[in-house]
């Protein structure tokens, strides 16, 4: 091996090292754009599931039945959605998406969750001491919910040779808070195929 060959090899190695260096590139994308990176449950799945469940719920007669009986919109509270999958799912995001979809439907009233109520009551308690008589809010005027939405997320994963099928099912139920009667049940499914390359350069 000659010195010139060695120099050429060294140059190629330096060039390869330079090309191999990674740089961080950030691009802003529309929030409604679906971007799947790992195949795990993501923001798009959450929005899609929430919209599907609310659409199903609004297409059934329980709202009309309630309005005919009471002459007003039903009040709903979003309860617990249990994550029974082997993935960490931001359930709070799904709950927020459900609340938003229900509110935007214009057909139901949504009240604050148990956690949010604690904060609101703290603020109201604070008002009793520090707010003016004209602006202080009274105790005992909270609107009680007629129905609670509860549910769970289940998943089945099947994988072989770098290919994986992920099946998620979100089941939810609207339960009458006074009678425990389930007035509506619905579910939505999301199925994904995750393919991993066997090789990279």
């Amino acid at each position: 091996m000659t010195r010139s060959t060695t120099v050429r090899i060294a140059l190629v190695l330096v060039l390869a090292a330079t090309v191999a260096c990674t740089t961080t590139k950030v691009t802003r994308v529309p929030t409604e754009e679906t971007i799947d990176l790992s195949g795990r449950w993501n923001d798009s799945d959450s929005q899609q599931a929430a919209q599907a469940l609310v659409d199903q719920s609004m297409a059934t007669p329980w709202v009309d039945d309630y309005m005919m009986k009471h002459g007003d919109k039903p009040t709903v509270i979003i309860g617990t959605l249990r994550n029974k999958t082997p993935e960490h799912i931001a359930v709070k995001t799904l709950v927020a998406d459900l609340e938003r979809s229900f509110i935007n439907s214009g057909r139901v009233t949504v009240v604050a969750s148990a956690e949010e109520r604690e904060e609101i009551r703290g603020e109201r308690e604070d008002q009793q001491r520090f707010a003016s008589d004209e602006t202080v809010k009274a105790w005992g005027r909270e609107q009680g919910a007629d129905y609670i939405l509860i549910g769970e997320i289940n998943a089945q994963f099947d994988s072989e040779k770098g290919k994986e099928v992920k099946y998620y099912q979100v089941d939810s139920y609207l339960v009458d808070l006074e009678t425990n009667v389930k007035v509506w049940t619905g579910f939505t499914k999301i199925k994904k195929f995750v393919g991993r390359s066997k090789y990279k350069p």
Partner: protein, 477 residues
Amino acid sequence: MSLMRRLGAGSTVIGLAAAVVVAAGCATYVASNVELRSMLETGAWQRALDRIDARQGGRDRLLELLQRGHVLHYAGRFEESNAAFQQAEDLAASLYTRSVSQHAASFIVNDLTIDYRGKPFELAMVPFYRAFNYLSLGDPDAAQVEARKATLALADAVEATIREIDRPEDREAARKLEDSGFLHWFSGLLFESEGEVNDAFIAYRNAARAYLGGTSLTGVPPPPALGRDLERTGLALGFVSEIDDLRTAAPTLFDTPPNGDAAPGGEVVFVLETGWIAPRDQLMLNVPILDIDRRYGSNEDWAWGLVDRTSSNWNRSTVDVNVKYWLTVAVPTMGTPEAGPVTAVHLSAAGRTVASEEADDLSRRAAATLEAERGQMLFKTFVRALVKYAATQAARKEDSTAGIIVNLLGVLTERADTRCWLTLPDRLSLARLHLPAGRHELRVDYLNASGQVIHSETEWVQIADGGWIFLNRRPFS
């Protein structure tokens, strides 16, 4: 060629050889990192983290993340531990895609040129530690997610291992690594703690099957407490005939006296981690190249022939041949586990005392993993050795100095891949204490191999009816 020209060319090649050797590293992974253990023994968490961070990058990134998550767990920095473990899981998933350039380099240099992808039993321990992290952070729902992940992680990692193996018999050996009685059992306990009795029963049943089928792999029989869990949850669900079937198939599983866990009260689950897992060591093997080896049609066939030559059944004296050359190769072998000073615990509270039961042997899992990988690993080692041998022979024909240098290069870069998660314990044991509701002073007696108490500690636990408390302890010294 003049002597000066020879030396000139030689010095250039020596320079390249040195560069490759430097790139390949000097000491084995274990030798370079074993001091992490002494840092953990003295509770020097930050020093251990600094030590891990100092080596950041490179082909051992997964091990750095695993060990970082592990040290942070013991340091009580649970959120940071989860973050490191999440990074490790993401990286392990991405490493399913093999780098062609790394693999090509591994056929010339050694296996250390390939990103470490983690062994199945290592990756399966991540959800175990993450579950405890979430329990410590007061998030039992997230701990449930880890319980569901645990056995899936093991199966996925075994699948990735099998993909690397060619011989059916080695694949079959690898498939035996696919189950872990302990992980199923631990998952079942987490499910039951959250009232998921059906999921718990299924997990206990899988645990029983894994223990019964894997005793030869780990040497750990089904723990008596598992039988009680299976019976309690099965009968609660009305699965009487299924319990009877299991009792017929495995009577020893149910051959334990009741411990009063059906009485009102709550449960303490105490996981004891002891010792240090057996590390991988490097072994230098000398294997003969015979004058009849020209019969092999390809390097692959030749390499499998050399694999057979490492078997204790191979006897050279039965073959009338001459040794042409001795190939020296470096292969990983299992080191010795360290049992540690503590081998068991006694838990006492409210006038009751229970002893821990052995639940898993990670060192034996590590040994079984190496055994399953051994055939493929030896094959690849010999393919590489034959490439180096051919390069040496070709260089020697051109120039004797170049031949010596190429041979030297081959010898110096020959290193076994001894990378492993060094901070894992050798064994896991589990103690269960059923207590009436209320506040109790829990006493933990740590015992040595002779059964003598070498250390004790107490802590107050608040037991609710139907409540569960999970504790894990690692007595380092």
